[in-house]
Subunit: 232 residues, 6 copies
Amino acid sequence: MHVLAVVAHPDDAEIFCGGTLAKHAARGDDVTIAYMTRGEFGGFDTTEAELAATREEEARNAAAVLGADVTFLDFQDGRIVYTLENRLKLVDCIREHAPDIILTHFADDMHPDHRETSRLVTDAYYMVSLPLLEREHPPCDPTNVYYFGKPTSSFEPTVIVDVTDHEETKEQAALEHESQVAWLEEHGGIDAEFSDFVESMRATAHALGRQAGATYAEGFTRLHDTSVDYLE
Amino acid sequence: MHVLAVVAHPDDAEIFCGGTLAKHAARGDDVTIAYMTRGEFGGFDTTEAELAATREEEARNAAAVLGADVTFLDFQDGRIVYTLENRLKLVDCIREHAPDIILTHFADDMHPDHRETSRLVTDAYYMVSLPLLEREHPPCDPTNVYYFGKPTSSFEPTVIVDVTDHEETKEQAALEHESQVAWLEEHGGIDAEFSDFVESMRATAHALGRQAGATYAEGFTRLHDTSVDYLE
Amino acid sequence: MHVLAVVAHPDDAEIFCGGTLAKHAARGDDVTIAYMTRGEFGGFDTTEAELAATREEEARNAAAVLGADVTFLDFQDGRIVYTLENRLKLVDCIREHAPDIILTHFADDMHPDHRETSRLVTDAYYMVSLPLLEREHPPCDPTNVYYFGKPTSSFEPTVIVDVTDHEETKEQAALEHESQVAWLEEHGGIDAEFSDFVESMRATAHALGRQAGATYAEGFTRLHDTSVDYLE
Amino acid sequence: MHVLAVVAHPDDAEIFCGGTLAKHAARGDDVTIAYMTRGEFGGFDTTEAELAATREEEARNAAAVLGADVTFLDFQDGRIVYTLENRLKLVDCIREHAPDIILTHFADDMHPDHRETSRLVTDAYYMVSLPLLEREHPPCDPTNVYYFGKPTSSFEPTVIVDVTDHEETKEQAALEHESQVAWLEEHGGIDAEFSDFVESMRATAHALGRQAGATYAEGFTRLHDTSVDYLE
Amino acid sequence: MHVLAVVAHPDDAEIFCGGTLAKHAARGDDVTIAYMTRGEFGGFDTTEAELAATREEEARNAAAVLGADVTFLDFQDGRIVYTLENRLKLVDCIREHAPDIILTHFADDMHPDHRETSRLVTDAYYMVSLPLLEREHPPCDPTNVYYFGKPTSSFEPTVIVDVTDHEETKEQAALEHESQVAWLEEHGGIDAEFSDFVESMRATAHALGRQAGATYAEGFTRLHDTSVDYLE
Amino acid sequence: MHVLAVVAHPDDAEIFCGGTLAKHAARGDDVTIAYMTRGEFGGFDTTEAELAATREEEARNAAAVLGADVTFLDFQDGRIVYTLENRLKLVDCIREHAPDIILTHFADDMHPDHRETSRLVTDAYYMVSLPLLEREHPPCDPTNVYYFGKPTSSFEPTVIVDVTDHEETKEQAALEHESQVAWLEEHGGIDAEFSDFVESMRATAHALGRQAGATYAEGFTRLHDTSVDYLE
């Protein structure tokens, strides 16, 4: 099984689906994380180029902890926009990896980069299987798209994955994003919830897990409903 | 695995979860249908006693087609009410069968008997495992309650079961309710949707199935969320 | 009364509102179907140009069965995007036909072409009556926009139209889309629900009809609420 | 056409559906208001008996202004409870008047009397047509139940009735409840919205009317969906 | 300011609103916790009477840590039912303490005792200010009722209270419920989320706090909306 | 405190948040209204340029009544579109005024200009604090964005502001929009609710106020939840 996670920024993979990706990898699935940007806008006393280099390396290290391959799609942090051309870039990315399933941000995420990533991925998904759309890679046919986000009133997970055995790996991966931790501690501001990165991740995973009889869990919605093999 | 379905009236089992019960039975699970009433209020030119006898027999025949055992809880059709005493009757029923899972009506069903059944079952569920509640049968510990209903804006199934291979069995079981078919054809009135019983059942199962990539499906919500073994 | 339906692809008219259009035509209303695209992307072993020609003819035949006129807006299948220029194309289309009401896709439809069509039509609707917007055709003033879609948790119809007397016409019209039936049977994939095109349409119409005391029905939401002449 | 409104307290008819009842009466329909209680708990420096007498007379006068007949069901103000016996009282009331449609409170109204009235009426509705339920009056078969309430996030009207031509009649009827106006001015407390009774009614009707192109409107939900004759 | 919290079981105060009560007490408000039951049904190898005595003492100790007074309403654990008589018991409790605000369970809580407590309190609230309802204590007029519950899709807090400075006190209070911790560890079953009592409480408070810029928070809905002094 | 309201058209400030802005100004806050357009498309027998001049003057007069400064952002009425460039225009506007809070349209408003304004403001908000985004003005850090709209099922205010003492000022400000009143009376059409401009505003404010114990109120949602100082 091949899993492709498309995330807007380097640390989004750990924050939203790191346990799930680690679980996939641990059971032998191929896992690829596609980073839309290198998160190069979230810093100070530096340049975008320097920050991009730093965060790319952190992303590579974090992905290695999770057991995932990486690819960078070269969009600009904070400036992802929806165009037909960008949608075709996502078509190329999906076709190249020909995943069984895709994980990405949910569409109503308030963060503009998350939202546009979600729309680009979803709309690309409707194109990747079309034979008449000729691109570098041949058509492929992923079975579903799973969406992640912060559990709030606008994101209510319906698919809950037990990541208890992978919470530690996820937290180790998250700690690779050193530059971001420093940035958040000094700058903070926009997202108060990052003030204690790892503790917040753990609390979120535990609060969700409680709903499903697990110690730690991550939650998703999905594009297509699917029937269950049996009453779960 | 033992499955207990608690339904208000004889034909509710087929209408709401007949395919799922047949699927359970077909794979070797023990299935019991507990009928709150014999549906003895839904007739004319007859008496409640006569109708009760007729419909009990139909229920037994229909359950046999599905592969299920039956039990009758002797509530009065159209007059099920919520009391502590009635709730203890449900405790006794659940403890007697000690099921792994329970299926029943969803709580916001507009039909009073359906609604009260749902409340009695759910509230009994919170009592059945208590050691200090001493009754005839010892405590038991079902893992979950699944709720069924007509898919409408007030009932949105989140657990969808593919019953394609059991749709025919379900329809055959439904046809055992001869007295009800006649009653609905002549009386109808309240529930226009029963005018063509089996065709309506099939259309509902197909319309729901389409959402989940199945030809025919039945839908449920559940009391407790559960994590999925893997992204379904 | 003049009714304008704006649909993304040739078979969308039949799938979502074919019975309603047939009912309008049958009572003497003028009905026009505006096709955003010719559905020329949904094929294989062919070219877009060939497929466009085939499907345009099928669309004309299907519309003739319903009793509707057609117009083609020449957008590209699978690639409809929201721009101010495209919005003005819809302004021109609406002004040309000066309809009393407009029918189109609902805005949260997951299919990108459906969603963008919905946004273009709705936003054009806010422009068509403005005298200061000078275009080829004079301003017009449709009273409302009605939205259709697959009844799911994200599309809950509030206006239900009884199409029992027109279900057969609708199904005949749907069968004109021969090329699409073949494509769906061999390719399928994306939308499993099309595996049996006409049976699915009928089941959906029946499942919805049951909610409103009709054998077959189609459902809509609307842009503006309207008061009812009397309690329906 | 016969319309039966079942309200918990004397002034509820004017507050929630006075314009609609006046409209029915004005076009020649038979209108009956059944008062569950005489509102005899909402006073001070008086007794329940005295207040009941005063408010019954006010209710009669107000109903006369609307053009409605009245009946009193003799429940106790503030103490309406759901029992099978009380439900049968409502069965008797509905069968006696054999209405085409019934209007009553919506089920999630926070006021206990409103909520219990709603449940009693709805559940009685499921019983009134049953031949085997033998009571003083023969079975009847109303087509639908319409629910009213204060438009809030928990009550979202889907059926909007233009009462512009009857707003004045409704306000005149409301002014008949002199004792209540005095009580609300001095006591208030619980329901701040009654501080200026008639102005609040008018503002509510106007705010709702704006949504549907009317100057004044009242809103309802309904038990059964119905298809519309044509797109309203 | 006087705050009255009405909870079904001894540990519910800490679980749902312990930080808020501690915050009230710390700033000098009078805080009273009314326990509907002593939680005497949740044990084994004991009797209800013994367990009641143990848990009452634990409740007293926990309340002392929070800085709250206690009262016991003598309902039976697991068997709270809605009756007019029980509602009047709540009227007496509320009038005796004459609180400014009341805190209690939210109405859609799946636990039967929580749900019935919520209904009894809310419905009593509508009675406490009525002069014609003569009881031992005179009428009182609390300004609002606040509801608490586990944050899930059925309980979405709209009023969020920062309890960061009181989280430690709350956890200390929770640890007073020694008998319950043991029961949950050995029995568990029904509510998996209690497996690690205090860690779960902290995770829930942190996950909610993140949404509102606080380290730890508790959430409520309220019966009446209120305007804010200024945009918070 | 500095408040920045970004509105699509000159009269939107009064319609949606005029009382709140007047309340801010009255207590000494700096208030600035940024008009995306001059509403120059909403007229007849005139030119866009003439109408822009007229409405700009009306906007200046209305803002003066409220006690607010104004700025015009020079977008085209009826043609606001989302682009990265336009988003940066909003970044510049927000940075120039460095507000504590921002007020703007809610994102699901059906009016295209309102919706695009909402998206541009929200997405700019995520950029204004970034040090690496170098523009004419330095980074700033507003604490929150508040959204306004017509209270309907798609806009449910959660933050309610009592504007009773400022309703008169708001109405006086609204009356400055003379050209618009005339336009709406003769043209109307699109928005029937404007037929009596000021009475509709007052009814809306009163109907909302009733929910929160105020005579007149305005309602908002917000981007970030915030904890309350105390239970409001």
